[in-house]
């Protein structure tokens, strides 16, 4: 995404710029949101089930936790992708039928 910033600022100073920046900000927000959710859900699943328990067994990452986190993130992204595909299919179907019927 850095190319968005680099390209936007240095080139034409005009009305297009704020729009691009807006887009970039929105995209960044989305990505941060996905990241935060991922971290939360995988942390809850793999490291400590109780979010109020602020105690770790060890300071370093344990083997079991590492395997769990690998698989958790892989699954998360796969689910994300599948849901995204499904939504875009729904979206295009809705467009084709004139977005009728929800």
């Amino acid at each position: 995404m850095s190319f968005l910033f680099g390209g936007g600022n240095r080139s034409v100073e005009g009305s297009v710029d704020p729009a691009k920046i807006e887009m970039a900000v929105a995209e960044l927000d989305m990505i941060t949101d996905v990241f935060n959710r991922l971290v939360n859900s995988c942390h809850t699943k793999c490291i400590s089930q109780n979010p109020n328990n602020h105690r770790y067994v060890e300071g370093d990452l344990l083997k079991g936790e590492s395997v769990c986190i690998d698989r958790c993130t892989a699954k998360f992204f796969e689910v994300n992708k599948k849901v995204g595909e499904r939504m875009s299919a729904m979206g295009s179907a809705a467009q084709a039928t004139g977005s009728f019927g929800r």
């Binding site: 060890e58 990452l61 344990l62 083997k63 936790e65 769990c68």
Partner: protein, 517 residues
């Protein structure tokens, strides 16, 4: 002289089995006494019911009789329920107890093993968040006769995976949808390695990201890991894959392309009668008609279809046609010595053989029931297998020393008769498909040549099924059929496990505890 007593024995006298039948005489209640020997008869509404004599209380009970405890309670004698109830309770309790015992044992074994390996999972990961765990690959072949291809992997997931998870070992489960998929996967993997080593194929450029491993590190990680083969079928397929990979040629090979080439050469999509039978009379007509083929889609195959026998290519086993492939390596340019297997053969990751039987079919229902009540044996086996992986007990595979080539031989007795019929079934399905295909090709061609308009169904869909789509569909089906046939040839009970004498002392196996005996 009867002592008038408050007899509590009115309506609650227990019936004595040895009750003498006495003529009922109505008499007042008060004349009954516990010590009288005459059967007292009570004034009841019917007046005809026999009442047994009240039971004599002895010892401490007679003392207690004055405390107000009912007489029947003091004279209680436990007795068995009736025959029918006995049968019912015996059956119910035995079945449910065996179920509960079995499941409790399973839980106990599982907990025990997990406690043994928990510490390994709670070790610190070397390398912090970018460190690597041991990773094992699990191959589970499709069980013959079962349309569900996931059974062997499910067996693994249920019986072995919990311990690996507890020990912090990563696992990968590649899918093998057809018989022989494992063979093909292993074959292409080994072939790629060999070709890259010989310089026939280029190594993909490596991304320079922090998590990416160099090829050596990748290989090292693979060797540290391990391979699990679930069931004898997977074992056979794996060994066959090793043979094809290491002992075979190094020509570039991709299975789907091979099948595609085969399919293009039989003239199903040409402007002629498709050939379904192997009858030799059709050969001459085929040659003549193929020469007047003008269909654009068959242009690639028409040049090579001049040879009459290739019209029957899809039924016979034609050699790999590399001359009309678009890949860059021509077989003749690879010197002969490259094809030789490179001895000593490279190290392979250690193998764990996990026995597995899948009961399917009506005749195997007793076995299914038995296995429902004896899951603890499966759990025990799985836990031993997992322990041997986790503790890394490795041994060389020497043919003389152990009987591993007969691993799980009795599981082949459980192959369904349906499964043995696979070849016939595939042939039948194929014949039907090709008969229908003829019609559909004709219709499609007519439309494309402008000879007809859309009919009503096609107008509804908005399109006609084009020849390209028909070809795709056919290719997919043929891939399945041919794949399954090839795989069945590898795993059928008549064929032994592939073995080459040069492989002695090459492979490593994880040692299961009971092999020590």
């Amino acid at each position: 002289m009867s002592i008038p007593e408050q007899s509590n024995a009115n309506s609650s006298l227990p019936k004595q089995p040895t009750n003498p039948t006495s003529p009922p005489n109505p008499s007042p209640l008060n004349t009954s006494s516990p010590t009288s020997t005459k059967p007292p008869t009570l004034n009841t509404s019917n007046g005809n019911i026999n009442k047994p004599k009240p039971i004599e209380l002895t010892g401490f009970r007679s003392a207690l009789s004055h405390t107000g405890i009912p007489h029947s309670v003091l004279t209680y004698k436990p007795k068995l329920p009736s025959r029918n109830w006995l049968i019912f309770w015996t059956l119910t309790t035995s079945i449910s107890l065996s179920y509960y015992y079995d499941r409790r044992e399973c839980k106990r074994i599982k907990e025990e093993t997990i406690n043994k390996v928990k510490d390994k999972g709670n070790e610190i990961l070397k390398g912090g968040s970018l460190g690597l765990n041991r990773k094992i690959i699990v191959y589970g072949a499709k069980w013959p006769g079962d349309e569900d291809t996931d059974r062997s992997l499910r067996y693994f997931r249920k019986y072995v995976k919990p311990y690996l998870v507890a020990a912090g070992i990563d696992y990968e489960l590649p899918t093998s949808p057809l018989h022989g998929s494992i063979t093909r996967q292993i074959h292409s993997k080994i072939l790629k390695e060999r070709r890259q080593e010989l310089g026939l194929e280029e190594i993909e450029p490596q991304l320079s990201l922090p998590g990416i491993l160099s090829p050596e590190e990748y290989k090292k990680r693979e060797l540290e890991g391990g391979i699990i083969l679930v069931g004898r079928a997977s074992f056979k397929e794996y060994m066959e894959g090793l043979k094809r990979g290491y002992m075979g040629k190094v020509d570039s090979w991709k299975w789907e392309d091979e099948i595609e080439n085969k399919l293009e050469k039989d003239g199903i999509f040409d402007d002629n009668e498709p050939i379904l039978s192997e009858s030799k009379d059709l050969e001459s007509t085929v040659t003549v008609e193929q020469e007047k083929s003008s269909n654009a889609l068959s242009s690639s195959s028409s040049s090579s279809s001049i040879k009459s026998t290739t019209g029957l290519g899809f039924l016979s086993k034609s050699p790999i046609q590399t001359s009309n492939s678009t890949t860059n390596i021509i077989p003749s340019s690879i010197p002969e010595k490259y094809h030789e297997p490179k001895l000593p053969l490279p190290e392979q990751p250690p193998i764990l053989l996990l026995p597995f039987i899948n009961y399917i079919g009506f005749k195997q229902i007793p076995y299914m029931l038995l296995s429902f009540f004896t899951e603890r044996f499966n759990v025990k086996q799985g836990s031993e297998a997992a322990l041997s992986i986790i503790n890394n007990k490795i041994r060389k595979f020497k043919l003389e020393e152990n009987d591993l080539l007969n691993f799980d031989l009795n599981s082949e007795n459980f192959y369904n008769s349906d499964s043995k019929d696979l070849i016939n079934r595939i042939e039948l399905t194929r014949k039907e498909y090709y008969e229908n295909l003829k019609e559909r090709i004709k219709k499609s061609k007519e439309y494309e040549n402008g000879e007809r308009q859309l009919n009503s169904e096609e107008e509804k869909l908005g399109k006609v099924i084009s020849l390209k789509e028909l070809k795709e569909e056919r290719k997919k089906k043929e891939l399945r059929w041919m794949g399954n046939l090839e795989g069945w040839n590898i795993i059928k009970p008549e064929n032994q496990v592939t073995w080459d004498d040069r492989w002695n002392n090459w492979l490593n196996v994880f040692e299961l505890p009971k092999d020590d005996e």
